[in-house]
Symmetry: C2
Subunit: 331 residues, 2 copies
């Protein structure tokens, strides 16, 4: 069965506002370091007013993954909702400039394009406050059946479970993907997100998702355990493949017949961990959609994740195609 796209991503279409902060700022504002919080527009504005000079760039978890995939040479499409405003225009440009098919209709009125205040601490950890804005208007009608049916993998972010309408879109996409004999995939996004939607995520893992992405913390939260081996055994019963990331430690790739431990790629100049999980998924899926061994997929994930954390921002700074070609069989 041929496919037009290696991966279709569905997610919250967000413009990131990157700003450096001291840890005290987070403490003073009761924002748990490393978390992603949802905030309303007023709170987002108030926080922004207190923050220093910023840099704006396109973000959104699944959109970052899709951007990474396109940079490696995968054929990719994306679905996510913006408004027809300046930030929506920025998002649109950055996605399309990578050759990604992106046709989701923009809102002409209502909430503005989503933005995420990404606060980067001196130790490179990032803490996010997201105003979902137009994202909450993503709905079933925005899911393009031909795109889903034409994608080897449909990849979604757990964050998409936050806007109520998007859940229906998400479910429609999974149904269409399986109807077309394709694979579904989700990233659990962050442990706070898993906390918000644990029962539904468990149901998804058991019944709807073929390829699960999670970090250690998220997986432990999902299976309500502090023992990683227990969580691995549980996810092995649920998903065809689970890719569990462990920061500098690398990753563990779980499938029915195998549990593969892949060492991390050493990084000497850590700047900003934003996008590490997104880029891991990009590297992994690039290998997966090419039929590479799961261990190689894990190494590719580690490699591209280790690139994105050496600079500010959640998308690759370099041509990942060349990077992967140079690094994969040398490290």
């Amino acid at each position: 069965m041929t496919h037009k796209f290696d991966v279709l991503g569905i997610g919250n279409a967000i413009v990131d506002i990157l700003v450096q902060v001291e840890d005290d700022f987070l403490v003073d504002h009761d924002i748990p370091k490393g978390s992603m919080q949802l905030v309303d527009e007023e709170t987002s504005e108030k926080l922004y007013d207190k923050l220093g000079s910023a840099i704006e760039c396109s973000g959104g978890s699944a959109a970052n993954t899709i951007a990474g995939l396109a940079s490696m040479g995968s054929r990719a499409a994306y679905i996510g909702k913006t408004k027809n405003d300046q930030m929506g225009h920025v998002f649109d440009h950055d996605i399309k400039s990578l050759g990604i098919e992106y046709t989701t209709k923009k809102d002409e009125s209502g909430a503005s394009t989503a933005r995420c205040l990404v606060m980067v601490s001196p130790d490179a950890e990032r803490t996010m406050c997201t105003y979902l804005g137009a994202c909450v208007n993503l709905m079933e009608a925005d899911i393009d059946e031909a795109q889903v049916a034409g994608a080897f993998v449909t990849y979604m972010e757990g964050y998409l479970w936050d806007p109520e309408n998007a859940k229906a879109a998400f479910r429609k996409a999974m149904t269409l993907a399986h109807k077309a004999g394709r694979k579904t995939s989700i990233s659990l996004s962050d442990s706070f997100c898993v906390g918000r939607h644990k029962q539904e995520f468990l149901h998804l893992a058991e019944h709807e998702i073929d390829i699960l992405f999670a970090n250690e913390e998220e997986l432990l939260m999902l299976y309500d355990t502090r023992d990683l081996n227990d969580a691995i055994k549980a996810v092995q019963q649920h998903c065809e493949v689970a890719a569990i990331t462990r920061s500098a430690e690398g990753c563990i790739i779980v499938s029915a017949g195998d549990i593969i431990t892949v060492k991390g790629n050493p990084v000497s100049d850590l700047v900003d961990t934003t996008g590490a999980g997104d880029m891991f998924a990009a590297g992994f899926l690039h290998g997966y959609t090419r039929g590479l061994d799961l261990g190689v997929c894990g190494r590719m994930g580690n490699l591209v994740a280790s690139e994105v954390i050496t600079h500010l921002g959640a998308r690759p700074d370099i041509d990942l195609k060349e990077y992967i070609a140079n690094k994969l069989y040398l490290t």
Copy 2:
């Protein structure tokens, strides 16, 4: 005579769109490398559509200088026109977050906030295409008399001579500054800009400007000579102080009694030359408004210029106060 502000900057309030390009792109589009071109909105959009993923951040030549000054601890104010749109909001936030007084009324309708496509070549040289947008609506009424009278130096960018209305604003500011016994200063901005306004700039240098900033090329263009010594002699007759930048070679500071040559600050990791001239002016004026010797002012200019070219973007990445304190008497 006490002053509320060390420097008041007046300029085109612009949001930069930073993007990496190959030199071929510039050749294919007939854009002279290293230049700043003015483009209309349609051309700006068409170019943007052809460019890759970008990063947005506040720019504008004089605004960058003022941001640099504030980062060093100078008391600063800024005048420049934006529209009340998302990019205007970004510009506003970034200026105010540095403690800079910025009260220029935003346009509620009409052209959008100015944007500049900053195309960075592999050799770190930047080429700019600017859509002036709302900047063209800066006018005399926007010049706050109290701000001008309260500023030790009123600093303007040559680019401000492009929007017709802004000239009147510019002239009003110079008149008010001298009436209050203050200093006026201008940066010639770029040699193409000097080419566009040579006669008027010559008149300004001779009659209106106390402190002139120019690079070698701009000064040669202004005095219509290929001999730097001739140009230096000419400017010495015109301005109280002229600070002539020479890229890696450093700068020459010309005053009535002296011509001081200051060596450049070595830079090993050149990334993006955007903002080098703006930051030189910031460093120089920070010293000047503190009554430091002109040679020291030149060294301070070189130092902060050498910081900004080691990363993408035209504004400092670090706290310049600490940087200056650590570097000035060690290099």
